[in-house]
Amino acid sequence: MLSGWGRLPRPGKEIFSEDLRALSRNAVLSRGLGRSYGDSALPPPGHLEVATTTMAERILAFDESTGVLRAEAGLSLRELNRIFLPRCWFPPVTPGTQFVTMGGMVAADVHGKNHHVDGTFGAHVKSLVLRVADGRIVECSPSSEAELFWATVGGMGLTGHILEVEFKMHPIPSPWIFEERLRLPDVDALVAALKDSAADWPFTVGWLDCLGGGRAILNRGRWAAKDEAPASTPKPLGQISVPFELPNWVLNRWSMRVFNALTYHARGNVKGLINPEAFFYPLDKLLHWNRIYGHRGFIQYQCVLPNAGGARAFLELLRKHRAAAFLCVIKDCAEQGQGLLSFPLPGISIALDLAVDENTQGIVDHLNEAVVADGGRIYLAKDAFTRAEHFEAMEPRLDAWKAVRQSWDPDLKIRSAQSVRVFGDPS
């Protein structure tokens, strides 16, 4: 059995090799570190094996003068940061966990706390090497095979197996972050604060207590200047592991309330220097934290809404359906990327963790209807329940993406469980 980060298992098996060219030859799908929440990295029904890239993790080139780095698709962000943070280089865009591969970052066209400044990861990718469905190895970039390139950025690995990724690292003034946290009364204040901070702060994110009346914390940061940072390099943070699956009842409305109250009071209104690992990846220090949700598994529902006012209405809808979201993260999104299925669009992104139960499909349907009505869209890397008709209604670029994919893979050889569910691929 195999599952995404949300631990909803499907029949599946990972195959590994250091030789990605051989591994991808007849594979139905590639998989990285399995951090997509739903079924993006699970094989379609009728297939068992997915080609896991994590053993192909060499850095193939790095140019100190330009920051351009080329790596095999399985290189993890954690390893990249371990090597380059002490040398004052950082990836241009980072998601909320380091346990992702370069290939996965392209496939999901990940965004981060700096979306309002730097866009998605795809905007910084110079070139990709793919094994396309007919077996050829193709290099594509914004200037060569550009259609394939932009269908692959955010294309969930469905346009070809990503073998190599070349992108531009950012030079940073010091390997430390200066951060500020502010307690705020509600979601409207949070959204306003995110918009206000956008001009001066490259990294912004909001945490919201969905159960405790909507109190919030704004977290904003920037790279510390050389003269304000300590001379030392931040030490890699220790990790502890959730050793086994907790019973379903551990995480309930009441334990969540306690946790949120602790978070609000312990972590509000501070400012100072912080290890970038703690700033960008607060949950990475708890390995296997997905086991907290127990056997039932969980999903993260993430959508972006074009209207700043939409966030409040959205949270009210959540309350109406009595959906208990343990974690709620709100981000500011700017211009849409060029990737044909890239997730962010100008507005506010809302991400909610929800334990799975018999009502989950219904809740996701209601939320998706609201997203469609608002002109927003959902993030495929988090999705496990969206219906094809809802995704079509959200995604005006879908036909253009499907046309490019069809031209490179007319028989739809490369598929996932998600592509069967959301794009109507044959199973």
Partner: protein, 246 residues
């Protein structure tokens, strides 16, 4: 150290090469596929940080005639050699070997005969230069005749016996021999197999090997727990070994 590493493109060798270059040692990669060697050398160079080049030289364990030249090339590129490491070897499952006699001949020749010949060339070169370290990855599979690894295990048993003798004879002359016996390690070599308890990661194994080289440990079990697992296996009576499938 000035290290020639045969087999640095994959698995344990890749992790060890990275560790050596990150620690500032000079490294020359030996192997048969030049494009792969070049890619791995680039990787190790970038990881090493400051501009240092990791040279490469062609060497194929199938062709003993090239061993002396390969070691000479490595020595020229590094300005001398004090450490030679072999992580390269062939692997196949017992089922594959039983049904393919050509594969059996190839595996036994490469893992035993040709590796010994390579080590002989390395021994002579290191002793001429006044000594050094010869570190070779054998396997716990060579500790006892076992049903799942009869042929592979036999090739490694022969290699381990050779390395022990070498260490006894030449340590006084300045040549330290380090025989590494990894248990199950999660690499491309074992990718199709279900990992048993105590399976190791290549990064941890590489650290154990480097520690063994620095201390001159004659036999390195890695992960360390395999020392005790194999102690038990070595002492199992024959009639028990015959019954179990391990």
């Amino acid at each position: 150290m000035k290290v020639a590493l045969l087999g640095g493109t994959k698995g344990i060798g890749r992790a060890l090469g990275r560790l050596l270059s990150e620690r500032g040692h000079s490294l020359c990669l030996l192997g048969r596929n030049l494009a792969e060697l070049e890619a791995s050398a680039q990787d190790m160079q970038v990881r090493a940080g400051e501009p240092r080049s990791v040279p490469i030289a062609a060497c194929d364990l199938h062709h003993p005639d090239g061993f002396a030249d390969a070691l000479a090339a490595a020595s020229d590129k590094l300005g001398g050699l004090d450490t030679v490491i072999v992580t390269a070897a062939l692997f196949a499952t017992q089922e594959e070997l039983e049904s393919n006699i050509a594969l059996t001949r190839d595996l036994v020749t490469v893992n035993f005969a040709n590796t010994v010949v390579f080590c002989e060339e390395a021994r002579k070169r290191l002793l001429r230069a006044g000594g050094g370290t010869l570190c070779v990855v054998s396997s716990v599979a060579g500790e006892r005749g076992r049903k799942p690894v009869i042929i592979y295990g036999a090739s490694k048993a022969g290699l381990s016996a050779y390395l022990e003798g070498l260490d006894h004879k030449f340590r006084a002359a300045g040549l330290k021999t380090v025989c590494v016996k990894p248990g199950f390690v999660k690499t491309g070599m074992t990718a199709g197999m279900a990992p048993p308890p105590f399976a190791g990661e290549p990064e941890g194994v590489a650290q154990d090997i480097l520690k063994g080289i620095e201390r001159g440990t004659p036999v390195v079990y890695t992960p360390g727990i395999w020392r005790y697992v194999m102690l038990a296996i070595r002492n199992l009576p024959r009639f028990v070994m015959r019954r179990i499938s391990f």
